[in-house]
């Protein structure tokens, strides 16, 4: 970089003038669009294999990889959690409201594991259609709520339920 070039600043010789500059930008845009199209097609071809977990509906329709471990995700069905006598084994059902999958897991559950909350279990289906989980993760939703607000919401919910009953 010579001292003379430095004084020219941004007006440094654009090789070939305005026309080739436009051409270069066209090439950049064309190249980028072309590459984006390739990536879009590749991602499309990968399809559901990029997915982190399958829904219970997909499990019931046999849309899951056969003969190897996969993940199933959804809500823990309310009232479905049963703890076995050993204190470590847990039975619960994962639901996407349409279908449910029974899950058995022996191990420590994450703190946020709860009924009516999101869950992702990894493991495989046994011969009885029960999902033998080797790992259970809690899937948090995108809601951030203060305790007082949640209490108010619950209260409103209860009042509404009581009103419905009174009618």
């Amino acid at each position: 970089m010579s001292a003379e070039q430095g004084t020219q600043g941004a007006a440094e010789a654009p090789s070939g003038g305005i026309k080739s500059r436009h051409k270069r930008f066209l090439w950049i845009i064309f190249g980028l669009a072309f590459f984006a199209a390739i990536v879009a097609l590749v991602l499309n071809a990968f399809g559901s294999s990029i997915t982190y977990f399958y829904s219970p509906t997909q499990v019931m329709n046999n849309e899951v990889p056969q003969g190897r471990a996969f993940r199933v995700g959804g809500m823990v069905e309310g009232g479905s959690v049963v703890r076995a006598g050993d204190g470590l084994t847990v039975h619960f059902k994962v639901t996407d409201t349409a279908e449910t999958v029974a899950v058995v897991y022996t191990g420590i559950l994450p703190d946020l594991f709860a009924e009516e909350k999101g869950v992702v279990a990894q493991g495989r289906l046994d011969d009885h259609g029960v999902f033998q989980a080797t790992q259970v993760l809690a899937k948090h939703d995108e809601n951030y709520v203060a305790p007082e607000v949640q209490a108010a919401l619950d209260e409103a919910h209860k009042t509404r339920a009581a009103q419905t009953l009174a009618q």
Binding site: M1, A10, A11, Y52, F53, D111, L112, H140
Partner: protein, 245 residues
Amino acid sequence: MSGFKYAAPAQFYPLAGKMALWFGVSAAVLAVIGLVIGLYIAPIDVTQKDSYRIIFIHVPAAWMSMFLYVVMAFWGAIALGMNTRLSAMMAQSIAPTGALMTAIALWTGALWGKPTWGTYWAWDARMTSELILLFLYLGIIALRNAIDDPRRADKACSVLALVGVVNVPIIYMSVNWWNTLHQGATIKAGNSSIDDIMLAGLLFMVFAFWFYSVAVTLVRLRTIMLEREVGAAWVARLPEVKEER
């Protein structure tokens, strides 16, 4: 040409210095306000308790990691198309801050993931694409250091930055396109599913991260300008350089 006046390093160098100072001071003030709101005033989250407070670092860092990449690719495109030096230096100066933001986003996400999900890391689409973003930043920095001629390095890095830019919409949309362990977007135009005070703290932190990124990038840009144009007449004319002689 008045609009392009500052495209010349000689004009931009002093302006960048002034801007860096103001952006830096603003970032510090915003960060203090944001952290006070986030760590003291904002209530706990009903399910995550106190561990949700990582959001005040995690979300701004993650947004910046994507935003800075787009800005870097933009300056790369300008550098390729117009063959200008300053825009290439802009792109060069953004890369380390972008890499830092990506690393912070991944790191804080892991720290939050353990108490929330039960794992530090999962190979879901959101996390994997964000990890690829970190590798892109590091790759661009490495490529720059591997090429001795700065003008050739400008071109190579610009091309790599532009190729990698397709990853940004993938990161952003991954939680909608595929089933991911990572939750969907909380902040949405018009209807955000977050407490107002938490949102206020978050926005202060977003602007703090933004202004910090601008300030640090400008300081780095000034260093890069001096380094690359050390023999140029405008450097010799700088008051601080004249005094030295």
